[in-house]
Amino acid sequence: MKNKILIIIALLVIALLAYNYLYQDHRDIASEEAKFSISPEQIVNAFKTNTRDSEKKFLNQTIELTGSVTESNNKDLTLNHIVFCQFSENHETTLNANIKIKGRCIGYDDLLEQVKLDQCYIIN
C-alpha cells in the first residue's frame, strides 16, 4: 500500500517536471540583470569593425543603453540615430529626451547600419 502511494507521488512529480519543462516561461528581459552596459556608439562600432565576434558577444543578451531619443513611435524608438529599440507595450517618451533603456540585442542591421533591440524597457 505504502509503495503504491510512493509510486503515484513519484509519477505526479515526474509529470509536473515534464510539464514545466515543455511549457516553461519565456525569458523576462525586464527582470534580468543587464549583461552589458554600453553606449550606442560603442555597440554600433563594435559591430561595424568586427561583426562576427560582436554577434557572438551581444546577440540574445540583455543590454543597457543610455542615449537621446532621435525618433519615437508608439512601439519603438531610436537612440542617437543608431540603435533601434522595440517595445512590447506602448511607451511614452519625448524626442531628444535622455533615457536609459534595457533590451535584448537581436542583431546588427547592415542595410541601415543600426543595432536592433527588442523587448525593451525604459529604466529612466
Binding site: 515543455l22 516553461q24 519565456h26 525569458r27 542591421d109
Partner: protein, 180 residues
C-alpha cells in the same frame, strides 16, 4: 569656383536621390504545422525592408532571434537545433519586382517578384513570387506569402519529430513601407 562645385553636387544629389520606402518593423510569420499536433509557428515584428520605387528593387533583412513562438521551449529548439541562429543570425532577401514602373503603383496591385533568399547559410532563387503593393500617399503596404522546403536550406528534421513538423513551410509577410 567653389559655388559651382557645390551647385553641381547639389544638382546631382537631386538627380540621383532615389525614392526609397522602408520599414524597420515589418512582420513575417512562418508556419510549419502538422494538423492536430501542437502548432509550429512564429512571428517576427522586427524585419527591415526597403523598396526602391524608381526601379522596383526590394531588400529585406530578418533577425532569426526576432522570431517569437508561443512555446518558449520550441523557440529555444528552433534557435539552437534548426535555424542555428548563433551561427546564422540573419536571413536576407534581395530581389527585383518585374515590369515595375512607378506609375503602375497607382493602379496595379499585384506584381511578380524574383529574388534570392538566404537563410541558414544557404541561398535559394525564388521566381515569380506574387507581391501585393498598395500605395496610399507616402505609405506602400507590401504583402504576400510563399512556401519553402526546409530541405532547401539544409535543415534536417529529426525522425522523432518528423510527424510533428511539416517539411513545407508557409511564410507570410506584411510591410508598411514609409517614404523617406
Amino acid at each position: 569656383m567653389k559655388k559651382i562645385v557645390y551647385l553641381i553636387v547639389l544638382i546631382s544629389i537631386n538627380i540621383f536621390a532615389q525614392s526609397k520606402y522602408l520599414t524597420k518593423t515589418g512582420t513575417i510569420n512562418f508556419e510549419a504545422s502538422v494538423p492536430s499536433v501542437e502548432e509550429v509557428k512564429a512571428e517576427n515584428n522586427s524585419v527591415t525592408a526597403i523598396l526602391n520605387s524608381d526601379n522596383g528593387e526590394f531588400a529585406a533583412l530578418v533577425f532569426i532571434k526576432g522570431f517569437r513562438f508561443k512555446n518558449a521551449l520550441m523557440e529555444e529548439h528552433f534557435n539552437e537545433n534548426y535555424a542555428e541562429s548563433d551561427t546564422y543570425p540573419k536571413a536576407t532577401f534581395k530581389g527585383k519586382i518585374k515590369n515595375f514602373s512607378k506609375d503602375m503603383l497607382n493602379s496595379k496591385l499585384e506584381f511578380k517578384l524574383d529574388g534570392t533568399l538566404t537563410f541558414h547559410g544557404k541561398t535559394k532563387q525564388i521566381n515569380d513570387m506574387v507581391i501585393s503593393l498598395n500605395k496610399q500617399d507616402d505609405l506602400i503596404s507590401a504583402s504576400g506569402n510563399f512556401k519553402v522546403l526546409v530541405s532547401d536550406f539544409d535543415i534536417k528534421i529529426p525522425r522523432i519529430v518528423r510527424d510533428k513538423v511539416s517539411e513545407e513551410v508557409q511564410i507570410t509577410y506584411k510591410f508598411d513601407l514609409k517614404k523617406r
